[in-house]
Amino acid sequence: MIKFVLMVNRQGQTRLSRYYHSVELSRRAALEADVVRYCLSRKKDQCSFVEYKDFKVVYRQYAALYIVVGITDSENELSIYELVHNFVEVLDKYFSRVSELDIMFNLDRVHIILDEMIQNGHIVETNKSRILAPLTAIDKMVES
């Protein structure tokens, strides 16, 4: 099961966070800082899966942005590793060449996309066109 998805830049600033289990707001910042520090401290030749406390963390770096996913022990790391890439590809398709600023200025839309892919900590859709269908429909309605 996926416990959380984070997007963090190299300075450790959170750009997006989504929790799939209840974590108090007050504890989130500390958890994020901790996890991110752990991931940032790893070298490029070290593997992208780390064990953190009682769960595992899968992370991937895109330019200056890290996508960090916390998963339970029973989840398949490699499947999540590729899911992250699929997510970024979907964002890239929607924003045509996505950048960190796209994500910042469209936080709501990025969340909407993520909600189509992951629910309750489970992967619910991975087909790119189907992930984007609801959002593009909304965009069309807004335009007209």
């Binding site: 600033q13 707001l25 992208s48 064990e51 790391e77 909407i112 629910q119 429909a137 807004v142």
Partner: protein, 1096 residues
């Protein structure tokens, strides 16, 4: 930092002006959100952040409550609030506005409203109730986008109690012409299943329809529900196995539309999901597994095999569970990983080594693990690894010295973090000892010998747990060392008491040990001093120990009786009912003391006196009777003694079971090309290898291809020699036996300390499909810090194709699970000829053909029922299992005060069998054998009957009995057959006749409860009576009284565990509240009530 900001700032205007993206909102750089984002990117300190956000929150607060705020502005305000909360600053004032936005906004505004709600609120937040009407309205909207949004939010969070309000609408959507609506409806039902499984029980057939949906997306969504349901009860869905196999076949065969592909791999995540389901269905089930072999083989074949060093490490770990010999092919890779600078990789390697440990390589592997422990700084890793070392040491220790030394290191390194069962089980092992008295003495003596110098050294550096172990061992066994004066041990122990960092728990252990050792005379001064110091201690436990020490040291006779030397530990019993206090209590009562009331009762009465309780019989507190059990009051020594000693009898019975036949593995031809070349016997054995027919051709194929690769490894450059030496010591013993006992079933190597292995290996077989792999891929290199840099750098793409093919390859390794079952059931083949072995394999692999004779004999088995049971009603006699010589069937007979399991063993072969032994056991049940269990010889075509009385230890919806029949064929070969038999809990339920008053008193004293709404039966009768009568008939309940719209019902679980049920008709439902002193019983019973009412 300033560099980054500069770049960011230069990038901003270009982004804002070039706002040509298809979906992105038109944001002017002067908008409020734009300002916030700019502010956030310019932050340089936490302090600045706080200032910025507090300011922002004030601005938002002011604006949201203004009546002039448009929905469009409200949407922006919500996004700003999301930002604030994301940075950790609560914006709770905006929650209600998020709900309003979802209610009143149009399209994107509405979606953002829903999004904000799902981000702000947790599932139990009371504001969620306000969302119900909005969801209800949107579900009925003619605008598909709105329906979609509502379904999305429902599948994320929805108040449990309000499910009935929207359930019909969601169900209706299952037939919607649009796939996206059907898919989201299925996901919403999945959510309902997760939070309130009973609410969706009636629509299981609709799940099946979703599984067969023509759209693959809808089918995929339904798999979530199935995975969950199959996890809970795999047996109920075995019939779906062929369907899942067909689906996987189509997916793997590329039958899905192209857009389901991920980099040319067809729907990899869907494949994972299907493999997970198949792994659950095939677990411990040979015949179901066979259905899957072909497609698993196909999946494996499609996914190109390419073991890229570190990438496949974890995969290997799980494959190795199934077949340790596979590790041989990758020896050098594993050795390289062991030296890898990345600790994570190193850890995984050790994990792998842990699984291939046997008696021959244990010292090297444990050494590697201890080395790692010395450099590891992570607590979780330490705890985990320490446990593993202890497990290996206990299982495979080559000699006493090594065992004690290893355990010493474990205790020193593991410190006070390690699982408490490690020292406990170590002490238990020492005290129980093993077969040889002499060996026993040596082990204890060696322990004593190694501890004395430790105490003479610097005991202050040792962890508390270790000191406790040392104290206990010295207290019990220091007398074994003749040259050691008790006085010296006493003074060493007394030194521990004076250390500043000794915890009071440790001190209490030390005092206990001193009590055992003191003999009066010369030792008296030390003990006297100690007991005086501590008899005024503030710690009551220490004070008690000090007093004990004082009295017992003065009265050697009493001491000999209380603490007999070398006593059999099993005779120690703790009177947990405290019955020795009975006299004291009755005297106190006679003297006018108030009778004792348990805390929850006191609380309840307090509550009742304070206010009118609206619920019947008052509130129940979450405090359970068992939680305030005796253990809380025990002193540490006694506690760990008693906890360590419980369950001894169970151990013994397991010993009998597990010491039986296990195989000496099948040898592999390519084994000799590894680094085990010097092992001559292996080579010879390899020549006569007979491939097991139950292995899938895929695995053999894989083996062949690897075989052809192996020669490239053989040339050995000089520096490699060291590694090779390591390899040969690590992988020794693998080729000759499949010794890894992960299932806890096989134990082929003779264990030095013959005791049941502690639990099972941490990864059970079904995890195999879940955690498949680990990898080392360097993350794509970052070019620079520019915010607007494209995230998908071009250099990623080249890696991708490779990664994805490996991904899918990883997925397929899950199939290993199915193979093992076959191997595990293979009987012992040690010493028998290949032909016979082949026969056995066939039997194990294919029980199918033998089923039929079993069915034929079933009819006449009735007549074999023992006379005293023949008049009673019994369940249908069900076939259990069969092979070419035996057929097993069973049924259960309900007596008023017991439940009898009857097992029929039919010798269907033409020859007699010898030394037949039937053993029956259960996790949830107490099984006791009535009359003698059938044993000994069975002539051809005869029937033996075993009778067992069953009582429930731990309630579960279905309880299961497992058993083994072992026997010998005339040729002298040992065989065994395993079976399991399920009994519904209802068979153990009997009516419980009580008066309403008695019922009332009992109700208050029971601490486990559950509540649930059940459907009412609406026929001609009054619904409450009709429903209660139906339950009474189906489940043998006793209806105590019916008053108006309420009814009270009682039943008991054999022998005398009551369960009370309070029913009230409420808004067309039957609100049921169950209470019992037994945990889980109310939950199980409510399940059966539901089933009973459904089946009407």
């Amino acid at each position: 930092m300033s560099d980054v900001v500069e770049k960011t700032l230069t990038a901003l205007p270009s982004l804002l002006s070039l706002d040509s993206h298809p979906g992105s909102a038109k944001l002017s750089s002067t908008s409020k959100l734009g300002n916030l984002i700019r502010g956030i990117t310019e932050l340089t300190s936490k302090h600045e952040e706080e200032k910025l956000i507090q300011h922002e929150l004030l601005a938002i607060k002011e604006q949201v409550s203004s009546p002039n705020t448009t929905m469009r502005q409200m949407k922006e305000l919500m996004v700003r609030s999301i930002y604030c909360e994301m940075l950790g600053y609560e914006a709770s004032f905006s929650y209600i506005h998020a709900i309003k936005l979802a209610q009143q906004g149009t399209v994107l505004e509405k979606r953002v409203g829903y999004l904000a709600v799902s981000l702000f609120l947790n599932e139990s937040h009371e504001l969620l109730l306000l969302l119900v009407n909005t969801v209800l309205k949107d579900l009925q909207s003619t605008n598909l986008i709105e329906v979609c949004m509502a379904l999305t939010v429902v599948s994320q969070m929805f108040p449990k109690d309000m499910i009935p309000a929207i359930l019909p609408l969601v169900e209706e959507k299952l037939n919607h012409p649009k796939e996206i609506i059907r898919r989201k409806a299925v996901l919403a039902l999945y959510k309902f299943y997760l939070i309130a499984p009973n609410q969706v029980q009636h629509i299981h057939n609709k799940f099946r329809k979703a599984l067969c949906d023509k759209d693959p997306g809808v089918m995929t969504a339904s798999l979530h529900i199935y995975l969950q349901m199959i996890q809970e009860n795999p047996d109920a869905y075995k019939d779906l196995t062929p369907s899942f196999v067909t689906i996987l076949k189509q997916v793997v065969g590329g039958k899905l539309p192209m857009d389901f592909n991920y980099h040319t791999v067809p729907a990899p995540w869907l494949q994972i999901q299907l493999l997970r389901i198949l792994a659950l269905l095939g677990k411990n089930d040979q015949s179901t597994s066979e259905v899957m072999y072909e497609v698993l083989d196909e999946s494996l074949r499609r996914a190109e095999m390419n073991h890229n060093i570190t990438y496949g490490l974890k995969a290997l770990t799980y494959v190795v569970q199934q077949d340790p010999k596979l590790a041989l092919q990758h020896q050098m890779t594993i050795i390289e990983c062991l030296d890898h600078p990345d600790l994570i990789i190193k850890r995984e390697t050790l994990e792998l080594l842990f699984r291939i440990t046997n008696a021959q390589n244990v010292t090297v592997i444990v050494e590697k693990m201890l080395e790692f422990l010395c450099i590891s700084e992570d607590d979780h890793t330490t705890i985990d690894l320490v446990g593993k070392v202890a497990e290996l040491a206990e299982k495979y220790a080559p000699d006493n010295e090594w065992f004690i030394e290893t355990m010493n290191t474990v205790f020193s390194l593991g410190g006070d973090m390690m699982q408490p069962d490690i020292p406990n089980s170590f002490l238990k092992l020492l005290s129980e000892g093993f077969d040889s008295v002499e060996e026993d003495r040596k082990l204890k003596l060696f322990a004593v010998n190694s501890y004395v110098p430790l105490l003479r050294g610097e005991p202050g550096k040792l962890p508390q747990r270790f000191l406790q172990v040392i104290s206990w061992v010295l207290g019990e066994y220091s007398h074994l060392r003749e040259d050691l004066e008790p006085a010296e041990v006493l003074s060493l122990l007394a030194k521990l008491l004076d250390m500043k960092n000794s915890s009071s728990e440790t001190k209490s252990w030390v005092l206990m040990a001193m009590t055992k050792l003191c003999k009066g005379g010369t030792d008296a001064s030390v003990t006297q001093e100690v007991s005086e110091t501590y008899s005024s201690s503030l710690d009551t436990v220490l004070r008690q120990r000090a007093h004990e020490l004082q009295y017992l040291s003065q009265d050697p006779e009493l001491r000999a009786r209380v603490l007999p030397r070398g006593a059999n530990p099993e005779t120690l019993e703790v009177d947990s009912s405290l019955s020795f206090l009975d006299r004291f209590v009755s005297e106190a009562l006679a003297a006018g003391a108030a009778p004792y009331k348990p805390p929850h009762q006191r609380q309840e009465e307090l509550d009742q006196s304070k206010a009118l309780s609206l619920e019947p019989y008052g509130l129940s507190l979450p405090i359970s009777m068992s939680s305030c059990s005796i253990t809380d009051r025990q002193s540490p020594t006694l506690l760990s003694m008693s906890s360590g000693l419980s369950g001894d009898s169970a151990d013994l019975s397991h010993k009998g079971g597990s010491s039986a036949l296990k195989l000496d593995g099948v040898k592999r031809v390519w084994g000799r090309e590894g680094y085990l070349a010097q092992r001559e016997p292996v080579e010879e054995a390899a020549q006569v290898e007979v491939p097991s027919p139950i292995q899938s051709p895929g695995r053999q194929g894989e083996g062949d291809s690897l075989h052809s690769q192996t020669p490239t490894q053989t040339p050995t450059p000089e520096p490699e020699q060291e590694k090779q030496q390591l390899a040969s010591s690590l992988f020794v013993g693998l080729a000759s036996q499949s010794s890894v006992s992960l299932m806890g079933k096989s134990e082929p190597t003779p264990q030095r300390f013959r005791r049941k292995a502690k639990g099972q290996g941490p990864g059970s077989s079904f995890n195999a499909s879940e955690q498949i792999s680990s990898s080392l891929i360097s993350p794509p290199s970052a070019v620079d810090n520019l915010l607007c840099n494209n995230l998908l750098d071009s250099n990623n793409a080249s890696e991708l194709a490779e990664q994805t093919s490996q991904l899918s390859q990883r997925l397929t390794t899950a199939n290993g699970t199915c193979h093992t079952e076959a191997e595990l059931t293979e009987p012992d083949t040690k010493g028998c000829n290949p032909a016979l072995r082949r026969d056995n394999c066939v039997v194990a692999a294919d029980p199918g053909p033998h089923d039929d004779p079993g069915r034929l004999t079933e009819v006449c088995l009735d007549s074999y029922l023992p006379a005293e049971l023949s008049g009673l009603s019994h369940s249908e006699i069900a076939p259990l299992c069969a092979n070419q010589s035996l057929n097993l069937s069973a049924c259960h007979v309900q007596k008023e005060d017991s439940l009898i399991l009857v097992v029929f063993i039919i010798n269907s072969s033409e020859s007699a069998i010898q030394q037949m032994l039937l053993q029956v056991d259960s996790e949830e049940l107490e099984v006791s054998c009535l009359c003698d269990s059938p044993a000994g010889e069975m002539t051809s075509h005869s029937v033996a009957v075993g009778q067992y009385s069953l009582t429930v230890k731990r309630p579960a919806v279905h309880v299961e009995v497992v058993g083994t029949v072992s026997y010998q064929l005339p040729a002298g070969t040992s065989q065994s057959l395993q079976f399991s038999y399920k009994v519904p809990l209802t068979s153990f339920i009997r009516p419980f006749v009580v008066s309403t008053e008695e019922y009332g008193t009992m109700w208050l004293s029971f601490s486990h409860d559950t509540k649930q709404n059940l459907t009412l039966i609406n026929d001609n009768q009054e619904p409450l009576t009709a429903t209660l009568n139906a339950l009474k008939k189906k489940l043998q309940l006793h209806v105590v009284e019916v008053i108006g719209m309420e009814g009270i019902v009682a039943c008991r679980l054999l022998q005398d565990l009551p369960c009370l049920m309070h029913c009230r008709v409420n808004a067309g439902w039957l609100a049921v509240w169950l209470r019992s002193p037994v945990p889980d019983l109310p939950d199980c019973l409510i399940y059966h009530c539901q089933r009973a009412l459904q089946s009407l």
